[in-house]
């Protein structure tokens, strides 16, 4: 054993350490930014070290693929809008799953080739043996061991599912696939596909490595990812993406075991476990169970016995709204997806600052699933420079609404819909909401009578103490600012 592989393994160790430390930092708001840099340094180290490995062929090809892949992803990641982040995560995650599946395929094919030759490869034919020594000192030059075969196949399966599933999630969030794809007996069909994929996987794992079986296995796995994701509504996509993220982690760990690469095992497993927990936390924040997200029928009941809403929407002028808030004691601002679409956060914060200067107590009330990803509103408000201490969680602010003079809802709909509490037929029934209806006055900024994500009516807009300020979020907030300034002039 030369010193070079040892050095490479040392780099891998440091990389694994940096990944863990980086993730640790990322899980606290104060240190989050540094975290990604730590993990990035680890990645760079691991990749450079791998380039330096002896006995690597196709170095030119490797470099080309790395450069192309990095350039394309970097470019696309830089230019997407902030609101499109979730689907980009889905896309990149799918790529990782695809890579794991492809590695599994290479290993299976190479295993079949080696098994066919009957005599085991000599060392130079399979020079990655240095990396394998540790985990299976004897099997290094022999074909894969049974455990490796099983984990390799399993990793390929999970990776392929994550690949096609993530691509569907991407397409849905990107708006390329508006309709949910549902048909009777769907679950049975999906189960059948999964079973068939598992059967083919078992064949591969037990050494029946024919070309048709391998091809069928991958096609079935990809198909399952597709079919499993198609019926899920876009509102649940962040949870699904998080789940596939954990899947990819697992797949990477399993393929890492096959390659005898400890950095992959550890990074993959850490992500697998972290992602599983994160998925549960996200589902919980939306008051859903994971099973309900994956197999539930979100929105299926919508339009059924929907509750009729009495009354009418009462409009208000910006000037009146501005005066109302200028002389209020407490104002709560409730942003939603519409604020993100209108990129109104800067104007909203300017308006809030003017109110604060006048002595009004202003707080931002954030629902955990406002917007299109967890923390969406926090990110936007942080971008605009709103200090943390003005931002209140749902649990903190809900008891305060009765003492609030004006609740200013801007571009939020589902998260303030009282029907989540009153109408069992509503698709959002049971979701905890921001209790704005309890405020003395409610002003709602939205463009018109558009519904929110769940596609349902909102009784709040028809309430006696609610006034509608129609218009684009940014424009409306700008007008409020102008009116407020005019007040003082």
């Amino acid at each position: 054993m030369s010193w070079l592989p040892t050095l490479v393994r040392a780099c891998y160790f440091i990389a694994a350490l940096l990944f863990i430390l980086g993730l640790k930092r990322m899980s606290s708001p104060r240190t989050a930014r540094g975290g990604i840099v730590w993990a990035g340094v680890g990645m760079l180290l691991a990749v450079l070290a791998t380039f330096a490995l002896p006995d690597m062929h196709n170095r030119g090809l490797i470099l080309a693929a790395v450069v192309i892949g990095v350039a394309a992803a970097w470019w696309s990641g830089r230019r997407v809008a902030m609101t499109a982040m979730p689907q980009m995560v889905a896309l990149y995650n799918g790529m990782g799953g695809g890579a794991a599946a492809a590695i599994g395929a290479v290993e299976l094919v190479a295993h079949a080739r080696r098994a066919a030759v009957a005599v085991p490869d000599t060392a130079p034919l399979r020079p990655e043996s240095w990396a394998l020594d540790a985990l299976h000192p004897v099997a290094a030059v022999a074909p894969l061991s049974p455990v490796e075969l099983v984990l390799g196949v399993l990793g390929a399966l999970i990776g392929a599912v994550s690949f096609s599933g993530s691509l569907v999630a991407f397409a849905k969030l990107q708006g390329w696939m508006d309709r949910r794809f549902v048909f009777p007996g769907q679950r049975a069909v999906n189960l059948l596909i999964l079973l068939l994929a598992l059967v083919h996987g078992a064949m591969l794992a037990t050494g029946h490595l024919t070309v048709p079986a391998t091809a069928a296995f991958f096609v079935l796995a990809l198909l399952f990812g597709l079919m499993m994701t198609l019926p899920i509504g876009g509102a649940d996509m962040p949870v699904v993406i998080s789940l596939y993220n954990a899947f990819t982690g697992l797949a990477v760990a399993f393929e890492g075991f096959v390659l005898g690469n400890e950095a992959m095992i550890i990074a993959g497993m850490v992500v697998g476990a972290a992602g599983t927990l994160l998925t549960q936390l996200m589902a919980k924040a939306m008051n859903r169970s994971l099973g309900n997200v994956l197999f539930g029928s979100f929105g299926a009941a919508a339009g059924g016995a929907a509750q009729e809403i009495a009354g009418s929407q009462k409009p208000i002028e910006a000037a009146d709204a501005a005066v109302m808030m200028a002389y209020a004691e407490r104002v709560a601002i409730v942003p939603g997806y519409g604020m993100a679409v209108a990129q109104a956060q800067h104007k909203v914060w300017e308006f809030a600052r003017l109110l604060i200067e006048r002595g009004v107590k202003v707080r931002f009330a954030i629902h955990p699933v406002a917007g299109r990803m967890p923390g969406h509103m926090n990110v936007l408000l942080a971008e605009a420079g709103v200090p943390y201490d003005l931002i209140a969680d749902m649990d903190d602010i809900n008891p305060e609404f009765p003492a609030t003079d004006v609740a200013l809802v801007i571009g939020a709909n589902d998260v303030v819909n009282p029907m989540a509490k009153t109408d069992p037929a509503s698709p959002i029934y049971g979701m905890p909401i921001l209790d704005v209806a309890a405020a003395r006055n409610v002003i709602v900024i939205k463009r018109g009578r558009g519904t929110g994500f769940a596609g349902i009516e909102n009784a709040l807009f028809y309430a006696d103490n609610t006034r509608m300020l129609y218009g684009d979020g940014q424009a409306a907030a700008g007008e409020l600012v102008a009116q407020l300034k005019a007040l003082d002039a």
Binding site: G40, V89, Y92, N93, R113, V271, G275
Partner: protein
């Protein structure tokens, strides 16, 4: 089976580590953390490089090439997106003392 045990220990401990890191994370960080862990499994790039580096037949080489391409996309894209998301936390760190 011998080596299997060591792998099992590593799997178990890595799982605990990952789980504990995420426990008690604030909602506001869910999406950046998802993105950050998405970046971390970009380490698959290393495996893809090794697979391509040891490919023998044209078919293996083609598969390996795709693997490296995808792995590089995972790693680079994951980094950029996470970095952009977390950048948002910069401005608000100054006014508030702690989160």
């Amino acid at each position: 089976m011998l080596d299997g045990f060591l792998a099992l220990y590593i799997f178990m401990l890595a799982a605990f580590t990952g789980y504990e890191i995420i426990a008690r994370v604030p909602v506001i960080l869910h999406t950046p953390l998802m993105s950050g862990s998405n970046f971390v499994h970009g380490i698959v790039l290393v495996g893809a490089m090794i697979a391509l580096g040891h490919a023998r037949t044209p078919f293996e080489t083609a598969l390996g090439f795709v693997a490296v391409l995808l792995g590089a996309g995972n790693a680079a894209g994951g980094y950029v997106v996470t970095e952009r998301m977390l950048e948002m936390f910069k401005s608000s760190r100054k006014p508030g003392d702690q989160a």
